[in-house]
């Protein structure tokens, strides 16, 4: 039983510089399965909900799943759970790549980071042991340089890393952590690491990952591969499209459906979308696709160096969400600018979603006369479509200079600092900036943004169903219950730390076959979904204790205004519809009218208050 687990947690206390190994109890593994489940339970137990996210009390739990490092396809990701400096609530954040495989091969399911180092350090975990290493010379270094330095110092070719850049050190509240070009993007994990003075983590492992029933597991892996093969070999396969042009290939449909947030939600359609979308990028710039560990989709696009007016740029992506946030939302149709901005974000270490939304927020403030056009200094005008303004503002945010210092606090805090009613159009829920979707057009997105424990998260929404007209985009009936079901399902899959792409095509029985044959568990679909629902409720309880109650299940006022090019035959989002959706959502969850989980529902989920 539990053969595919390391069954160990590595605890690193930066305050005392102590490093210890702890066994994970069988009951804990069976109850929480892995990944997000492990992290959520550990954070709930160990970090007070009122703790300062940027203080020593906060912890990061870096978690892998039961299928990480096995032959099962699309389980390369790693999950971080912590308390977010952006939202003040619990956060889970994910990155693909190769780090997760290294952690598993090193024999761990979880690396727990706690305390606060006196000076800048990095953590090195190798078969020779784990150690905390001083690195004052890396202060202010870019992520790429930091990862290279840590690898070089280790002398190991098999070391995989994650690091923060200047933004994390400066505690930009949406600073991210990057692992070899893949980002733990959302929620400010880079700021948490920065506050702990932890610049990087390097992990090398040489262990094998066993499975409970090798013959049955082999069959389960073969079935999963066949599912992928059928999709990837089809010219219109869902993942085949991502494999061909990266996630940016998805921009076309959103734009054609008039659901692409453009010019800070004043428009639903961007005339230059084709120029900055995935295929447009591929036509302009040399590209080669790269894959995460064991993945045949290879959606990540690596560019050759490109000479731009801002200097030479080397970058990966941009991903679709970045094409929205720093592209259409800022009314930027300049593909070179997008490469440069994406490169800046990767080197400084900032979540491109929150970054782009914050830049667009400043442009909106300038459009409304709330901020002066010369707020950036010099002759760069703060206005939509000005590529130079975007590039300059990104620098200012990472360095916390001038207006950049305000925006580095995130859109919600920035609107509170600037005042003048700007909170009405700050694109955020619970402090988390909007992902690339419009609540004005998609009711599932309206519910998801408002109710997600992470804030305006897009990871658990019926996006494909709405855009493909499987269900009407502006439909109300049953929408909230559907969102709740998807939230539960994705939470469960994030216990396996499955790539979100897998869920698009892999049927549930294949996930369970992989899990059960690898672990020896006998997890049914009913139990698996209950696991996801239990984690959702555990997160909700944590957020409630942190002061995030039902009053924050909301959308900003701008979502109830009608964009200029809103389709005549479509129905705008009304406050009445939203109230109905929220009421339906609470009912679907078995919560009371204020959005508190009921004791009956918690008892049914095995959670005690």
């Amino acid at each position: 039983m539990f053969e595919c687990y390391g069954k160990k947690l590595l605890r690193v206390d930066l305050s005392t510089r102590s490093i210890t190994e702890e066994p994970l109890k069988h009951a804990f593994i069976e109850r929480w399965v892995g990944g997000m489940g492990f992290g959520t339970k550990l954070l709930s137990d160990e970090v007070p909900p009122t703790a300062d996210p940027l203080g020593p009390e906060n912890k990061l739990f870096i978690c892998v799943g039961p299928l990480t490092g096995t032959q099962a396809p699309l389980f390369a990701q790693t999950c971080i759970v912590s308390k977010s400096p952006l939202t003040g609530g619990i956060i889970n954040s994910y990155a693909g790549g190769h780090l997760g495989g290294a952690i598993k091969a090193a024999g761990y399911d979880v690396i727990a980071i706690e305390g606060q180092a006196d000076d800048l350090v990095y953590l090195l975990v190798t078969p020779d042991g784990a150690q905390i290493i001083d690195c004052p010379e890396l202060a202010g270094e870019s992520i790429r340089a930091t990862e290279a330095a840590v690898k070089a110092a280790s002398g190991r070719d098999d070391l995989h890393t994650m690091a923060i850049g200047l933004a994390g050190e400066n505690r930009v509240r949406f600073a991210c952590v990057v692992s070899e070009t893949r980002a733990f993007g959302r929620g400010g994990m880079g700021a948490v690491l920065g506050a702990k003075n932890l610049k990087a983590i390097g992990v090398a492992g040489i262990g094998d990952v066993a499975v409970a029933d090798p013959a049955a597991f082999k069959d389960a892996v073969a079935a999963a591969y066949e599912t992928f093969r059928q999709d990837l070999e089809s010219p219109w396969g869902y993942l085949a499209m991502f494999a061909g042009a990266g996630t940016g290939a998805g921009m076309s449909l959103v734009n054609e459906k008039h659901a692409l947030a453009t010019r800070h939600h004043h428009l639903t359609h961007f005339e230059k979308a084709e120029e900055i979308g995935g295929p447009g990028m591929m036509e302009k710039f040399p590209t080669r696709p790269v894959a995460c560990l064991g993945c045949q989709v290879h959606c990540s696009m690596l560019r050759s160096p490109v000479k731009t007016k801002w200097g030479e740029v080397w970058t990966r992506g941009p991903e679709y969400e970045t094409m929205y946030s720093l592209g259409s939302l800022c009314f930027n149709g300049d593909a070179e600018m997008l490469l440069k901005a994406n490169d800046q974000a990767e080197e400084y270490g900032m979540d491109t979603l929150s970054l782009g939304v914050s830049v667009a927020f400043a442009m909106e403030c300038a459009d409304r006369g709330i901020l002066p056009r010369n707020a950036l200094g010099g002759d760069v005008a703060l206005e939509f479509g000005n590529a130079d303004a975007t590039i300059k503002l990104i620098d200012m945010i990472a360095h916390r200079e001038g207006l950049g210092d305000t925006l580095a606090e995130g859109s919600r805090r920035a609107s509170q600092i600037i005042g003048q009613g700007t909170d009405a159009f700050a694109l955020q829920s619970k402090g988390m900036e909007f992902a690339a979707w419009m609540p004005e057009r998609m009711r599932g997105i309206a519910v998801t943004f408002a109710t997600s424990n992470r804030g305006a998260c897009h990871k658990r929404a019926p996006i494909g169903m709405e855009l493909m007209d499987v269900i009407p985009m502006d439909g109300i009936e049953g929408r909230a219950a559907l969102v709740a079901e998807i939230q539960n399902k994705v939470n469960a899959l994030f216990c396996l730390v499955a790539c979100r792409f897998a869920e698009f095509i892999v049927p549930m029985e294949q996930f369970l076959a992989l899990l059960n044959t690898a672990s020896g568990l006998s997890c049914t679909e009913e139990r698996f979904m209950r696991l996801g629902e239990g984690i959702w409720n555990l997160e909700r309880l944590y957020n409630l204790a942190a002061g995030i109650d039902g009053s924050e299940d909301r959308l900003p006022d701008i979502c109830f205004e009608v964009p200029e090019d809103f389709p005549e035959d479509a129905k705008p989002l009304t406050r009445e519809d939203f109230a109905t959706l929220l009421r339906d959502y609470y009912a679907a969850r078995g919560w009371d009218e204020q959005g508190h989980p009921t004791s009956e529902r918690l008892a049914a989920l095995g959670l005690q208050t």
Binding site: G250, E256, K257, G278, P279, D469, P567
Partner: protein, 95 residues
């Protein structure tokens, strides 16, 4: 009547063009439009997109008519109207 046709994302690359306008007889259907496109578009587009659609082997999700996906193959025989916009678009979103 005239119907506007656009190609978006990867399908624009495959079609080798961004848009065109087709003249169809009054009462012409989506199926008629697909047939007409055979003579206009490059062989890879015909082979990978048009032929599967006409034989109902391809998903109608590859098309939008006035921003909506056709609902089932019977929609192929629905008459189009002057000013309709047909878009070939990849059946995917997000990332």
């Amino acid at each position: 009547m005239e119907v506007a046709v656009r190609f978006s994302g990867p399908l624009r690359v495959l079609a080798g063009r961004q848009d065109l306008t087709l003249s169809l007889a009054d009462g012409g259907t989506l199926r008629d439009l697909l047939h007409t496109l055979h003579d206009v578009l490059p062989p890879p587009f015909v082979e990978q997109i048009l032929t599967p659609l006409q034989t109902s082997a391809g998903p109608l999700a590859l098309m939008l008519v006035n921003r909506a996906h056709p609902r089932g193959s019977t929609d192929l025989d629905r008459p189009l109207a002057e000013g309709d916009v047909v878009v070939f678009v990849p059946p995917m979103a997000g990332g």
